[in-house]
C-alpha cells in the first residue's frame, strides 16, 4: 500500500521538474516494491515498455503538452 502511494506521489512531484521519462522510471521503481513477485530485471523492462507506450500514446498520438525531459 505504501509503495503504490509513494510511487504515485513521486510521480506527481517529479513530472513537472524532471519530465515524463524520469517520472515513469520513479513510479515503476518505487511502485514495484509493492510486490515481491517482481524481479529487478522485469521491473526495468516494464519501466522501459511503459515509457515507450506513454510516449507514443500521449505525446505522439494525442499531442499532450507534458514535459518529457528535465529542464536544465
Amino acid at each position: 500500500m505504501l509503495s503504490v502511494t509513494v510511487g504515485l506521489i513521486a510521480f506527481a512531484l517529479s513530472i513537472e521538474r524532471l519530465g515524463l521519462v524520469l517520472a515513469i522510471a520513479l513510479l515503476t521503481g518505487i511502485g514495484a516494491l509493492a510486490t515481491r513477485a517482481l524481479r529487478p530485471l522485469e521491473t526495468a523492462i516494464a519501466g522501459l515498455v511503459l515509457i515507450a507506450m506513454s510516449w507514443s500514446i500521449f505525446i505522439v498520438g494525442l499531442g499532450l503538452t507534458i514535459p518529457i525531459w528535465p529542464e536544465w
Binding site: V4, L8, F11, T35, L38
Partner: protein, 498 residues
C-alpha cells in the same frame, strides 16, 4: 415520422469513419478492462475523460459509452472461464457460468452471454430512443424546486438500492456531498473546506476523485490480497453454438432479464450491477427446478448478462434527458459534457440532436461490434488473462497518474488522487461501496444550486417544495421509499437479494 428522421440523423453521425472508429476503440477498451479483473469501467472512464477534451464531444461520448457497455460483455468472459468476476456486474454470472465451463460447455456459456447481451442491448437502446424525447419534454417544464426534489429522490433511491448496508450507503453519499462542497462557493466566492490550500479553491475534479478511489484504491486492495488461485478452464473452446435445449430454456430468461434490467437501469443508484443481481434472484424464484441453479443452469447466465447490459444502456436515460446521473459512470459522463462546455439537461436533445441521436445509434452499432469482438476473438482475450497482475498494476498506476495530471496539468491533482487512493482502500476494507460517494459528489453541487435558486424564487419560503405539484409528488415518492426501507419485512427481502 420524426422518430425515423432523428434515427437517420443519428446513424449519419455514428456511421462516419471517425465515429465508427471511436465506437470500436471504446468497445475494445471496454472488453479489455471487462476481461481484466482489478480495473473497472469507472476508473477507466475517469482516466480517459481528460483525453476526450481533444475530441469532438460526440466522439468522446461514443467512446466512453462503448467502454461502459463493452465492460459488461468482457466481464462475463472472465466470470465464465476463470470464476472471477471481471466486473462487479458479472459476479452472479460466475455461479452458473463457471459451472457450465467445468462441464465442458464454456463455448455455449460464452455464446449465451454474448447473445443475451446483444439482444438486451438492442431492446434497451430502442427504449432509450423511444422514451428519452418525451422525458426530455417533461424535463423542460421543471424548475429549480422540481430539480431539487428529483435529486433528493435520486439520492434516497440510491441508498435504498445500494449494495449492502443502508447505513454505509448513507455515509458514503454524505461523504460524497461533503467532498463536493470543497472549493469556492458559487454565489459568494468564499472558500469552503479548503484548509487554505490554494490548489483546492477550484474544487476537486470528478476525474481526480474517481481515479483515486477506483483506480489507485483498487490497485492497493488487489496487492494487499494474497495471490489468488486462478482456475482457468484450459481446454480448447470447441463448440460455440448453444444447443436447442439451451435456447428453449434461456429465451424467457433473457426477456425477463432485459425487462428487469431496463427498469432498474433508469432508477438512480441502479445500473448494471444491481440489475444482474436482481435478475438472477428473479430467475431462481420463477424457475420450476430451482435446484439446477448453481450447477450450470443456462438461465443463470442468460438472465444476469441480459440484465446488466440492459441496465447499462437505460441508465443513460436520466443522464441524457434530465442531466441527472443515476450512477458513478453517468456522473463521469456529465463530467465529459461539462469539459466541452455543454450544460447537461433536457435542452441537449433539442439543441444538440446530433449528439443525442448519434450516441443512441452508436450504442446499437457498438453492441453489434461487441458480439464480433467477443465471440470469434475469444481466444485473444483468454490469452490476455494469462498476463500476471504484477505487470498490469504498474501500467494501471501509470495511466492513473497521467490521466489525473492531464485533467488540468496539475501535479497537485495527482497528490490528491494518491490521497483518495488510500481513502478508497480504507473504504473497501470497511466494506463501504465507494460508488455512491461519486454520485453524492456530483449531485451535491447541483442540488445546492437548485436549492438556492428555488429559495430565491420563493423569497426564502421552503413551502415552495410542497406547493408545486411535481415537486410534491417527487418528495412523497422519496418519503415512501424511506418508509419502505424502514419496514422490517421489506428489509429482510432486501438483504436476501443483495
Amino acid at each position: 415520422m420524426e422518430f425515423f428522421d432523428n434515427l437517420a440523423v443519428g446513424f449519419g453521425v455514428a456511421l462516419t469513419p471517425a465515429n465508427l472508429g471511436f465506437a470500436f476503440v471504446g468497445a475494445m477498451v471496454g472488453t479489455l478492462i471487462g476481461v481484466l479483473p482489478g480495473i473497472g469501467p469507472i476508473a477507466t472512464i475517469a482516466m480517459l475523460l481528460p483525453l476526450t477534451f481533444h475530441l469532438e464531444p460526440v466522439s468522446g461520448l461514443i467512446m466512453l459509452a462503448g467502454i461502459f457497455y463493452g465492460a459488461q460483455y468482457g466481464g462475463s468472459t472472465t466470470a465464465i472461464l476463470v470464476n472471477l468476476p471481471g466486473e462487479t456486474s458479472s459476479v452472479v454470472t460466475c455461479i452458473d457460468g463457471h459451472q457450465m465451463a467445468r462441464q465442458g460447455r464454456a463455448g455455449a456459456a460464452l455464446a449465451v452471454a454474448a447473445i443475451a447481451s446483444f439482444f438486451a442491448g438492442s431492446i434497451s437502446t430502442a427504449l432509450l430512443a423511444g422514451f428519452a424525447p418525451p422525458l426530455a419534454k417533461i424535463g423542460q417544464s421543471f424548475g429549480a424546486p422540481e430539480y431539487f426534489s428529483l435529486m433528493l429522490l435520486g439520492l434516497i433511491a440510491a441508498v435504498v438500492l445500494a449494495h449492502g448496508s443502508v447505513v454505509k450507503a448513507v455515509a458514503m453519499i454524505v461523504l460524497g456531498l461533503l467532498v463536493g462542497l470543497v472549493g469556492s462557493d458559487g454565489n459568494t466566492g468564499g472558500t469552503r473546506f479548503t484548509f487554505d490550500i490554494r490548489e483546492l479553491t477550484d474544487g476537486i475534479d470528478v476525474a481526480t476523485l474517481a481515479i483515486g478511489l477506483f483506480g489507485v484504491g483498487e490497485i492497493i486492495a488487489n496487492l494487499a490480497r494474497p495471490a489468488e488461485e486462478r482456475s482457468l478452464v484450459a481446454q480448447k473452446i470447441t463448440r460455440l453454438w448453444p444447443t436447442g435445449d439451451d435456447f428453449r430454456r434461456c429465451w424467457p430468461a433473457v426477456l425477463r432479464g432485459t425487462a428487469l434490467g431496463s427498469i432498474l437501469g433508469v432508477l438512480p443508484g441502479g445500473g448494471a450491477t444491481l440489475s444482474s443481481f436482481a435478475a438472477y434472484a428473479l430467475e431462481k424464484k420463477v424457475s420450476t427446478e430451482p435446484s439446477r441453479f448453481g450447477r450450470g443452469a443456462v438461465e443463470g447466465v442468460a438472465a444476469p448478462e441480459s440484465a446488466n447490459n440492459a441496465g447499462a444502456q437505460t441508465s443513460f436515460i436520466p443522464m441524457l434527458t434530465l442531466g441527472i446521473p443515476g450512477n458513478a459512470v453517468m456522473a463521469l459522463m456529465i463530467g465529459a459534457l461539462t469539459i466541452h462546455g455543454i450544460q447537461p439537461g433536457p435542452q441537449i436533445m433539442s439543441e444538440r440532436p446530433q449528439l443525442f441521436w448519434g450516441m443512441v445509434a452508436s450504442m446499437w452499432i457498438g453492441n453489434l461490434m461487441l458480439v464480433i469482438i467477443n465471440l470469434p476473438l475469444i481466444g485473444i482475450w483468454v490469452q490476455l488473462l494469462k498476463v500476471p497482475y504484477r505487470f498490469l498494476y504498474l501500467a494501471i498506476l501509470l495511466f492513473c497518474g497521467i490521466g489525473v495530471y492531464t485533467v488540468g496539468n496539475s501535479a497537485a491533482a495527482v497528490l490528491l488522487a494518491a490521497f483518495f487512493g488510500v481513502v478508497g482502500f480504507i473504504l473497501m476494507k470497511l466494506d463501504c461501496e465507494p460508488a455512491p460517494m461519486i454520485l453524492g459528489f456530483v449531485l451535491g453541487p447541483l442540488m445546492e444550486e437548485n436549492l438556492r435558486r428555488a429559495m430565491k424564487i420563493a423569497s426564502g419560503d421552503p413551502m415552495i417544495f410542497v406547493q408545486r405539484p411535481i415537486s410534491l409528488g417527487l418528495l412523497i415518492a422519496a418519503a415512501l421509499l424511506l418508509l419502505i426501507v424502514a419496514l422490517p419485512a421489506i428489509r429482510g427481502k432486501r438483504e436476501e437479494v443483495f
